[in-house]
């Protein structure tokens, strides 16, 4: 078929949705309906290939797939569905996938309505001039109120909902309507297939046989096997060994042209050569200028990651490098801790991002790690006028040298049913929030805006918000600059020795109670040793809280007869193994969780 004719039949779209509003299920149904997957091949959450994604029911990485669809007008269309993460931490990934599309489905739960994070992503889509198709999902729920939710979408986003698709992805209702709406409303890609090549890199990963696999969206020109290509930001030149599409399994094709979403391989060894957001062009006939890249998002949350086994430092570096290949937002640099030895200070987009990276290091690379409590970047101004930033509390200078400290603030947006407004306001105020604005979204829901220190959000705001509103609140935040605060560094001493990895920065007014809670928490988490261990929280030289772990009193197997010997031996080995998983800080054996204790103050269950 003529390239231009074919181009008219291409539709590129992604799906924007809040967690649990049914994005992955809708994607599954679309794959099924277009025959991309037979029912037999179908696994739930097909596009969420990472084990972690399936387990948590979330999307972390984006994923693109090509679908063939015969529309009601009798024509065959090529649809590219680019799956996106829904969580605020992954805004960067979302912006990447949106830049490769002309349209987006906005999926909203018919019972829940719009959520804060969805809103943020809708604005991103509008910024990218995407055609947005509202999809009201879960209409089969008894509590569904599609009309009310339509009204909400119109009021809050200003999107015409008269033609909104009503679906139940779970029950398979309305899926065809969605595809018809995509065909009718999403514009076909514009661009010239004969022009010099411009393809946007929106993802990449390393394949041990083919080198770096680069996901691209072709904007202009044509990409073929054998072509010499150039990365416009790095000027690196490669020869294309394979181009293809995901249908959803990777399938080589002859060429990718305007509007196509696919992948290329070119024996690229170094992932650094293929920066996400860069433009691929033809080496011999380069484009005049690159495509606009993405907004580069800087990490906001930092923590130390250390291998438990000190000899795994290099393995950890390799793991971080590999993860960085397809997650450019992850930053890291080596650091040293007196308590934990050699490790890395890592920067993340947010808390979920941090947790995901930690879990992937442990699972995919099999490295046992210790992570320190997350911190933000503080700006210190010394009495001698010197100003600098620290991302690690242990780098804070002595109190006498500090003139003032500034900390990052964010504007946080909370959407919540009106019955919880009082609780949320109380929570925000307790977290040093300054009220900005309150708006009613329809009759029942309220949007609250507060100016808050990022450190409070990093601490336990999420958890408290969730539990305080029975999970009904949704939340988003954006950076709002730095503000001067009365902050102090709190140190933790175990058995009289300062443990640098446990130091944290806290507001002066809440320092005492927090010191007390953390000492109590550490007492709970650090197992008894053969001697008594005092735990102290100090500010400067002053002890503000103290607890004591009593000495271990009894640990001896009562029964050990003929049949028990091998089993008891295993038990002792396990006991020893358990100790190995702990970090010896001075003479005290400290388990991994303790280093996160500064963060997890909720009493009942440590893990979210």
């Amino acid at each position: 078929m003529d390239r231009l004719e074919r181009q008219k039949k291409i539709r590129n779209f992604s799906i924007i949705a809040h967690i649990d509003h049914g994005k992955s299920t809708l994607a599954d149904r679309i794959l099924e309906l277009t025959g991309a997957l037979t029912a037999r091949e179908m696994e739930d959450q097909f596009l969420d290939t990472m084990e972690l994604e399936r387990e948590r029911g979330i999307t972390i990485k984006l994923n693109a797939v090509r679908l063939n669809y015969k529309a009601d007008d009798g024509d065959e269309y090529i649809l590219h569905l680019i799956d996106t993460p829904g969580h605020v931490d992954f805004t960067y990934e979302v912006s990447r996938s949106l830049a490769a599309c002309e349209g987006a489905l906005l999926v909203v739960d018919a019972a829940q309505g719009i959520e804060a994070q969805t809103l943020a992503n809708v604005y991103l889509a509008l910024d990218n001039n995407l055609e947005i198709i509202p999809v009201i999902n879960k209409i089969d729920l008894p509590s569904a109120e599609p009309e009310r939710v339509k009204g909400e979408v119109e009021d809050v986003i200003g999107l015409d909902c008269s033609d909104a698709c009503l679906t139940s992805a779970k029950a398979g209702i309305g899926i065809k309507d969605v595809l018809e709406a995509v065909v009718k409303n999403v514009p076909a890609p514009t661009g010239d297939p004969e022009a010099p090549l411009q393809a946007l890199i929106f993802d990449s990963y390393f394949d041990q046989y083919r080198g770096v696999i680069v996901s691209v969206r072709v904007m202009n020109g044509t990409l073929r096997k054998g072509m010499k290509i150039k990365m416009m930001a790095t000027n690196a030149v490669f020869e294309v060994t394979e181009v293809g599409t995901s249908t959803p399994r990777q399938t080589p094709v002859n060429e990718l042209t305007v509007g196509d979403v696919g992948y290329l391989a070119a024996s690229i060894k170094n992932v650094g050569d293929t920066r996400v957001g860069d433009t691929v062009t033809e080496a011999t006939r380069p484009a005049v200028e690159p495509l606009p890249g993405y907004r580069k998002i800087n990490p906001m949350v930092f923590c130390g990651i250390y291998p438990i086994e000190t000899n795994q430092f290099n393995d950890l570096r390799e793991a971080l490098e590999k993860l960085q290949l397809n997650d450019a937002s992850l930053q890291f640099e080596p650091e040293t801790s007196q308590a934990l030895g050699f490790g890395f200070r890592c920067g993340f987009l947010g808390l979920l991002h941090m947790e995901i990276i930690q879990e992937r290091i442990e699972r995919e690379f099999n490295i046992d790690i210790i992570t320190t409590a997350p911190s933000v970047i503080y700006r210190i101004t010394q009495t001698n006028g010197e100003t600098y930033e620290i991302d690690n509390p242990s780098k804070m200078p002595e109190i006498q040298k500090i003139d003032f400290i500034e900390e990052p603030y964010v504007i946080s947006t909370v959407m919540v049913p009106k019955d919880y407004v009082g609780d949320v306001m109380q929570l925000c105020q307790g977290k040093r929030g300054e009220f900005i604005d309150m708006q009613y979204l329809g009759e029942n829901r309220v949007q609250l805006k507060y100016n808050m220190p990022l450190s409070e959000i990093v601490y336990d705001f999420f958890d408290l918000l969730k539990s305080g509103t029975k999970g009904y609140a949704s939340f988003d935040y954006e950076m709002a600059g730095y503000k001067q605060s009365k902050l102090v560094k709190m140190d933790i001493l175990l058995n009289g020795e300062t443990v640098d990895a446990l130091s944290f920065i806290v507001h002066k007014d809440t320092a005492y109670p927090r010191g007390k809670v953390i000492c109590e928490k550490l007492k709970e988490l650090i197992p008894r040793q053969q001697f008594e261990v005092p735990i102290q929280a100090t500010i400067g030289q002053k002890v503000v809280a103290r607890e004591t772990i009593s000495a271990m009193r009894k640990n001896v197997l009562a029964k050990c007869y003929g049949g028990d010997i091998s089993r008891k031996r295993k038990l002792l080995e396990k006991q020893k193994e358990g100790k190995k998983r702990m970090k010896a800080v001075g003479s005290v054996e400290v388990p991994q969780e303790a280093f996160m204790a500064v963060l997890r103050m909720d009493d009942n269950n440590g893990k979210k």
Partner: protein, 381 residues
Amino acid sequence: MPPTSVYMHIPFCTNKCYYCDFNSFVTKNPQLVWDYLDALKNEMKLTFEQTPVEEVKTIFVGGGTPSYLEHDQMKYFLEAVQEHLGRYFASDIEFTMEANPGTTDVEKLTIMRSFGVNRLSFGVQSFDNALLERIGRIHDTDAVYRSIDNAVAAGFSNMSIDLMFGLPDQTMETFAESLNKALKLPLTHLSSYGLKVEENTLFHTLYQKDQLPLPTEEQELEMYLYLIETLEKHGLHMYEISNFAKPGCESRHNKTYWLNNDYYGLGAGAHGYVGGQRHVNAGPLAIYLQKAKEGLPRVDEYRISTKEQMEDQMILGLRLREGVDLARFQARFHRTVEDEFGAIVTEQKAKGMLEEVDGHLRLTEQAIPLGNEVFACFLRE
């Protein structure tokens, strides 16, 4: 030299106690018991053909509840033992059988006695009826007294009981009361175990639901120290972490294990240690019966390396109050404890956990309740 100790397992019980994770089955089907005894008899034949016995110094019949066997079953079982081992019995053989109060009448005890059983170990656990019910025992205190009276009447004079501490809702007072009642009985030996909540028991389920009010670590330690002190005062000296005896009445069979010596092990789920090789029998009854038809009913067999043997010698030997016999270690492995574990021993001595007394390396008094901490150090990479 072939082993001189024999362990045999009778896996039947009238009911399952809430803390028990031993290999035991509750059945009311006598045919199953007969089938088992036949299989066991066949295992004796094959075992002693493979490694012929020279002398039997100790036999221990454990369970389950060996006294669960009915009179004719008991007779059948002991006849088999006699048939295979009787002619090798040492003149001073220690032949122990475990028994539960409530399953021992004079006639059964008399049968046992007549086949050479000369030591009884009763699973008494407590003298507190409420507590006995709480832990799933079917007997009460009266049954204990009756059983001991019956045993004396049947001619037994070497008797031990088991007592437990650290039980749910048990206090120092109730434990002391039980202990003092035990001391009034004509016993030569006493074993006392701190409760350990094992997986696959009712207690484990309750524990996970936070419905098992166990004493604190401090209270448990207090009970343990009281136990040691009280028994020593009454002439039952501690010779192993959980075992106490009148002088000369230590269980020679159990010492086999702690001295890391060989033993035959027969019956469902039993372990044996013969010529540096450990083996494990099939545990589930049906599988044991099936396998025993075809040969030795073993599911696992593995050699213990010299390195592991040396470690075992330490962690088992340190359980004994006398400790590890340094000369014996050297004679066995042609290496000294110092050669092998020098750094560990030095460190533990410095910490006050180990001491050397009369050519033995042993736990110090303060180290006894923390034995595991010391044992674990002897397991090397």
